[in-house]
C-alpha cells in the first residue's frame, strides 16, 4: 500500500511538472485531488490497511497530498510567470488605428460652458423666434421707430406676402434682448433667464462683421437687484470662462433699454493687454454690454417698478469663441471646412 502511494505521487509529480498550461494543471488537480481523484480514492482504501500500519499510511498519504498541492501551486506560479515571459516584443511607438470620430463646432462647447455657469447661478434657458416683430425687438425695449440707436442695429425686413404676419413689422431679430419682453409679459418675477441664439444685422461682411452672429442674452428681475450685482455677475462669469487671472473693466454706455448702462471690456487674451491686431492695439476687447433694466421696459411688460427691478446683459458668443481660439476672421465660424473643423 505504501508503495502504491509513492508510485501515485511520482506519477502525479511527473505529470504536473510537464503540464503546459493552467487548464491542464486544473485537470490534473481534479484527477489527483478532486472528489473522485486518485488520492481521494486511496483514502477510502484505508480500511484495507492493517491497524498497525494505518498511522504510517495516513501520514504518507497526507504528506504526498501536501507535496502535490505545493507542486501544483508552484507550477501554477511558474506557468503564469512563463506566460508573461513568452510574449513577443512589440513596438510601443507604432501608431494606433485612427478612429473615425468627427468634431463639434466650437460654438457648441462654448455655449454649453456658458449655460453651465449660468445654471449654477439659477438661470433657466429660453429659446425664442428669430423671425421677430419690431415690437419685441425694439419698441418694448424703449427704442421707438425713429430712435437713432436703431442705426447700430440695421435690420432685415421679411416679405410677409402669403402670411398673416404684419408687413414692415416683421423682421429678423437684431438682438437676443428681444426675449426680454416676451418672457416678462408672460411671467411674474422673480426670474433669471438666459436666451442664446442667432441674430441678424444688415452689415456688410468683413473679417470683424458678419450679418449673422450668436449672442447670449441674460436678464434677472427681482425685488432688490443692484448695479453691484451686475458687476459681480459679469466678473464671475468672465472669470469662469477665461480664468481667475482675467482682467475686466467696466465703462458707461447707452442703450435705450438700460439705465445705467454698462459696457464690459476684457483684457485682450491674445496679447495680454499689450496691444495687437486682434484688439486693434487697445489691449482690450469689448465683450459684454449690459445695464440695469430701464424702468420703461419693465412698465411696458406690466411689471411694477416700485417693487421690481433688474439687470440685463448680452454676451457675444462668437466673440468669446474667437478670443478663446484666437480666430481673427469671424467668417471662419460659418465656413464648414474640415481643415477648420478638425481643429476643435
Amino acid at each position: 500500500m505504501q508503495e502504491e502511494i509513492i508510485n501515485l505521487k511520482n506519477e502525479a509529480i511527473a505529470q504536473i511538472s510537464g503540464a503546459k498550461d493552467a487548464t491542464e494543471l486544473e485537470e490534473l488537480r481534479a484527477a489527483y485531488l478532486g472528489r473522485n481523484g486518485k488520492f481521494t480514492l486511496l483514502v477510502k482504501k484505508i480500511k484495507n490497511v492493517p491497524q498497525e500500519k494505518r498511522k504510517e499510511f495516513g501520514m504518507t498519504l497526507n504528506e504526498s497530498k501536501i507535496a502535490i498541492e505545493n507542486l501544483l501551486s508552484d507550477k501554477k506560479q511558474e506557468l503564469i510567470k512563463s506566460l508573461s515571459e513568452k510574449r513577443d516584443w512589440f513596438d510601443l511607438t507604432i501608431p494606433g488605428i485612427k478612429s473615425n470620430l468627427g468634431h463639434l463646432h466650437p460654438l457648441t462647447p462654448v455655449l454649453k460652458e456658458v449655460k453651465q455657469i449660468f445654471n449654477y447661478l439659477g438661470y433657466q434657458m429660453a429659446d425664442g423666434p428669430e423671425i421677430e416683430s419690431d415690437y419685441y425687438n425694439f419698441e418694448v425695449l424703449n427704442t421707438p421707430k425713429d430712435h437713432p440707436a436703431r442705426d447700430t442695429q440695421m435690420t432685415f425686413y421679411i416679405d410677409t406676402e402669403g402670411t398673416d404676419l404684419k408687413p414692415l413689422e416683421t423682421i429678423l431679430r437684431t438682438q437676443t434682448s428681444a426675449m426680454q419682453g416676451r418672457v416678462m409679459e408672460k411671467m411674474k418675477p422673480p426670474f433669471r433667464v438666459l436666451a442664446p441664439g442667432r441674430n441678424f444685422r444688415y452689415e456688410q461682411v468683413d473679417a470683424s462683421h458678419g450679418f449673422e452672429f450668436w449672442q447670449v442674452e441674460g436678464f434677472v428681475v427681482d425685488e432688490n437687484i443692484h448695479l453691484t450685482d451686475l458687476f459681480g455677475t459679469i466678473d464671475y462669469v468672465l472669470k469662469e470662462l477665461f480664468g481667475k487671472e482675467t482682467k475686466i473693466r467696466f465703462a458707461t454706455t447707452n442703450f435705450p433699454f438700460v439705465e445705467p448702462g454698462v459696457d464690459t471690456y476684457l483684457q485682450c487674451t491674445i496679447c495680454k493687454g499689450k496691444g495687437c491686431s486682434f484688439c486693434k492695439n487697445t489691449g482690450w476687447s469689448e465683450i459684454m454690454p449690459a445695464g440695469m433694466i430701464h424702468p420703461n421696459v419693465l412698465k411696458m411688460a406690466g411689471i411694477n417698478t416700485k417693487k421690481w427691478n433688474g439687470f440685463a446683459f448680452a454676451i457675444g458668443l462668437s466673440r468669446i469663441v474667437n478670443l478663446r481660439y484666437q480666430i481673427k476672421d469671424l467668417r471662419t465660424l460659418t465656413t464648414p471646412d474640415l481643415r477648420i473643423l478638425k481643429q476643435f
Partner: protein, 656 residues
C-alpha cells in the same frame, strides 16, 4: 466725432496723460479708443452715444473732461451782440412741429474771402475743406457749441420771407454743393415766396447759398424735429454732421448763444453790420428743468452707499446744480442735457463719475424661481444627438440661415415656401432656408476630400398656417462611402432615442432627393424625416461628382417619440444562436424580412444581417426563453416557422 486736442485745450486744462484720459473718457461713456495725427495735431476719435448730442461738440467734450478731472472749463468768451445799425426786412413763418425753435439775424455788408489760417486749420482737423469766412464760421460754431446753423444769401430770399413746411415728395432740389436730389415726402423744407431754398437740418440749397459775391446774409439756428430729419436723411441716403446732431436732439436752450457767437466771428472776419433784430421764435421757454434723486433710490439702484456729500460734489461737477435735502438732491438740468429725465438717469450720472470700476462686486441675493419660464428650452437632446453624430464620424457645421435663390433653384426648391428678405445685403443671402441639406451639400465644394461627413443642428424657417414656424432639424451628408455605412448614424440616433417602431416608406416629397433611392422615416402618422441619396441632377448642377447620401430629421418629433427604456434583467439561461442563409428575390426589402422574423415569435430576441453574398443573405438569429434553456427541438420548430413565413411573404428559399 473728431476732437482736435489743441482745440479741446482752449477750454479745459488736461491734467491726465493722453492714454489715461482716453480710458477715463471711455469709462464715463465717451468712448475714445483711437487717435489720429494730422500734422502736429492729435485728434481724438470719440464715439458719441445716441443720448448725448452735447458730446457732438468740442465744448461738450471739454465739459465732460472737466467733470472727470473735477476742474472748471473756460467757456468761450462770447461778446454781447452789437447793436442793430440797419433795418433789412425779413419775415419768418414758423411751424413749431417742425422747428421747435428758430433763431435768426440779418447781417449786411460783409466781404466774402478765405478764412484766416487758425480757422482753416480747425475746419481741416474736422475732416472738411475750408470754403470761405462765413461758411467756415457756421461750421466752426457748430463743432464748437454743438448746434447746426446755416447762412443764407439774404438777397436770394425772395419776398424776404421764409416759410418752414413739409415736402410733398418729388420736389427737385439742388444742394449747396451742386448735387441734384428728388425729395421724399415729409422732409422739412424752407421756401421763400417763390422757391424751395433749404432742406432743413440736412443740406442748404444752391440757390440761396453764400457765394463769393454775397454781400448780405441771414444766419439762422434751428431746433429741428429729430424724427423728420432722421426719416428724410435715411430716405435720401444723406447723412451729414448736422443730421447726426438733429437726430439726437441738440441744446434747445443754446440757439441764441450760438447765433451770438457766429455773428461776432463773422463781423470780425468778414465785416458788416447787424441789419435786423434778433428773431427768436420758440415753442416754449426752454429753460433748465428740475429733476430729483433720493439717496434711498440711489442706494437701491447702485447697491452701495455713496456719501451724500460725494453725490452732491459729483452732480455739481456735471453742472447739474444739486440742492441737497434730507432725503436726496434736487438738480437743475441744463438744456444741453436733454437725456436726464428721471431718477435712474441721475443715478447713472453719479455712478459713472464715481467710477464703475470702484464698485464692489456682489451676486444677486434674490430668490430662484422654481416655475419653468416661458420659452423654456432644454437642449440636452440636441447635445446628445450631436455627440452621437460626432462618434459616428460626422463633424459639425454652422451654416448661414440666409441663402441664395441660385442654391434653391439648383435643389429644385420652390421659393414660394421660403421666407424672403426685402432688403438683402446681396442676392447671395436673400432667402431663409427650409432645409439644412443644401448648405451642407454646398460645403462639399470647399472640402477637397474624398470622404466627407458633415452635420448641422439648427433652425429651418417654414410657413405654417400663414405664420412663421421655426423648427430645429438635424441633418447630415455623407460622401465617399457605401449606403450601409451611411445608414449607421441614422439607426444609431433612432435606437439610442429608443424609437423602435418606425417604418421606412419608399416615397419622398423632397425635390433634391433621388426619387427611388430615398425614403421617409415615419412612426404612425408622424414624419421624423427623410434620408437617402441626393438626386444626381442636383449634384451635377452643383458640379459635384460622386454619390452623396443625406438625412434630415425633425428634432421636436424625435423628442416627442423618444421613450425611456425600462431595464430587462439579464436572462440566466444562455441564448441559442444560429446563422440562417436565405436566397432572396431581387428588390426584397431586407429590413422588412428582419422585422418579420423578429415579430414572429417572442423567443426570437434578436435578428441581425451578418453577410451578403450575391442574392444570399445570412441572418444571425438569437433564440432565448427567459425561463429555461431551449432544446434543439424547440429551436427547430421556430426555425421552421421562420422559413415558412419568409417563403410565403418574400419568396425566400433556404440556401442549400
Amino acid at each position: 466725432m473728431l476732437i482736435p486736442l489743441s482745440w479741446l485745450k482752449d477750454y479745459v486744462d488736461i491734467k491726465l496723460p493722453l492714454k489715461d484720459l482716453m480710458w477715463k473718457m471711455t469709462e464715463v461713456g465717451l468712448t475714445c479708443e483711437t487717435t489720429k495725427k494730422v500734422g502736429d495735431e492729435t485728434i481724438l476719435d470719440v464715439e458719441v452715444t445716441a443720448n448725448r448730442p452735447d458730446w457732438m461738440s468740442v465744448v461738450g467734450v471739454a465739459r465732460e473732461i472737466a467733470a472727470i478731472q473735477g476742474t472748471k472749463i473756460k467757456e468761450p468768451k462770447i461778446k454781447d451782440l452789437p447793436s442793430q445799425t440797419a433795418k433789412f426786412p425779413i419775415d419768418l413763418i414758423p411751424n413749431f412741429n417742425l422747428f421747435e425753435r428758430w433763431s435768426a439775424i440779418v447781417i449786411k455788408g460783409i466781404e466774402i474771402k478765405p478764412s484766416p489760417e487758425w480757422l482753416q486749420d480747425k475746419i481741416k482737423f474736422m475732416g472738411h475743406t475750408p470754403i470761405n469766412n462765413v461758411i467756415d464760421v457756421t461750421n466752426y460754431v457748430m463743432y464748437e457749441l454743438g448746434i447746426p446753423m446755416h447762412a443764407f444769401d439774404y438777397d436770394e430770399i425772395y419776398g424776404q420771407e421764409m416759410i418752414v413746411q413739409l415736402s410733398k415728395g418729388g420736389e427737385k432740389f439742388t444742394s449747396v454743393d451742386g448735387l441734384n436730389y428728388e425729395l421724399p415726402k415729409n422732409a422739412i423744407i424752407i421756401k421763400d415766396s417763390e422757391r424751395l431754398i433749404d432742406l432743413a437740418g440736412i443740406k442748404g440749397g444752391l440757390n440761396s447759398g453764400v457765394k463769393n459775391s454775397t454781400k448780405n446774409i441771414l444766419l439762422h439756428v434751428t431746433i429741428d424735429n429729430p424724427v423728420l430729419i432722421r426719416r428724410a436723411s435715411i430716405a435720401m441716403g444723406l447723412r451729414s454732421d448736422a443730421s447726426a446732431i438733429y437726430e439726437r436732439g441738440p441744446d434747445k436752450g443754446g440757439t441764441v448763444n450760438s447765433l451770438n457767437r457766429a455773428v461776432n466771428l463773422i463781423l470780425d472776419l468778414a465785416g458788416g453790420e447787424i441789419a435786423s433784430k434778433l428773431i427768436d421764435l420758440k415753442m416754449e421757454k426752454f429753460e433748465p428743468k428740475t429733476t430729483g434723486l433720493t439717496f434711498e433710490k440711489l442706494e437701491k439702484i447702485l447697491g452701495i452707499k455713496i456719501p451724500d456729500t460725494e453725490v452732491v460734489k459729483i452732480l455739481a461737477r456735471l453742472n447739474l446744480s444739486p440742492k441737497k435735502s434730507k432725503i436726496g438732491v434736487s438738480c437743475r438740468v441744463p438744456t444741453y442735457r436733454g437725456d436726464i429725465k428721471m431718477e435712474e438717469d441721475l443715478a447713472e450720472e453719479v455712478a459713472r463719475l464715481y467710477g464703475y470700476n470702484k464698485f464692489p462686486m456682489t451676486l444677486p441675493t434674490g430668490r430662484v424661481n422654481g416655475t419653468k419660464i416661458p420659452f423654456y428650452f432644454d437642449d440636452s437632446l440636441i447635445l446628445y444627438i450631436k455627440n452621437l453624430l460626432v462618434s459616428s464620424g460626422y463633424s459639425e457645421a454652422k451654416n448661414l440661415s440666409l441663402i441664395s435663390k441660385d442654391l434653391l433653384t439648383k435643389f429644385g426648391i420652390n421659393q414660394e415656401n421660403n421666407f424672403r428678405i426685402i432688403n438683402p445685403i446681396s442676392l447671395e443671402y436673400k432667402y431663409m432656408r427650409v432645409s439644412l441639406i443644401p448648405s451642407l451639400v454646398a460645403a462639399i465644394k470647399i472640402n477637397p476630400v474624398e470622404k466627407l461627413q458633415l452635420f448641422e443642428i439648427d433652425k429651418v424657417y417654414l410657413k405654417v398656417d400663414r405664420k412663421a414656424a421655426e423648427k430645429y432639424r438635424v441633418a447630415g451628408i455623407y460622401l465617399g462611402g457605401d449606403f450601409r455605412n451611411f445608414k449607421t448614424a441614422v439607426e444609431l440616433i433612432l435606437s439610442r432615442l429608443n424609437i423602435e417602431e418606425y417604418s421606412i416608406e419608399f416615397e419622398v416629397n423632397k425635390p433634391y432627393l433621388h426619387q427611388t433611392n430615398s425614403g421617409t422615416i415615419k412612426v404612425g402618422g408622424s414624419v421624423i424625416g427623410e434620408f437617402g441619396e441626393i438626386n444626381p441632377v442636383v449634384l451635377s448642377a452643383m458640379e459635384i461628382s460622386g454619390k452623396v447620401y443625406c438625412f434630415e430629421m425633425d428634432i421636436e418629433t424625435l423628442a416627442k417619440l423618444s421613450k425611456f427604456k425600462t431595464f430587462s434583467p439579464v436572462p440566466v439561461n444562455p441564448p441559442q444562436i444560429e446563422d440562417l442563409t436565405l436566397n432572396l428575390p431581387s428588390k426584397t426589402r431586407v429590413g422588412e424580412v428582419i422585422k418579420t422574423i423578429k415579430k414572429l415569435e417572442s423567443k426570437i430576441i434578436n435578428v441581425e444581417l451578418e453577410d451578403i453574398y450575391k442574392d444570399s443573405y445570412t441572418f444571425r438569429i438569437w433564440y432565448q426563453d427567459p425561463k429555461k434553456t431551449l432544446t434543439n427541438e424547440e429551436v427547430e420548430k421556430i426555425r421552421k416557422e421562420i422559413l415558412s413565413s419568409v417563403k410565403a411573404k418574400f419568396g425566400a428559399t433556404i440556401k442549400e
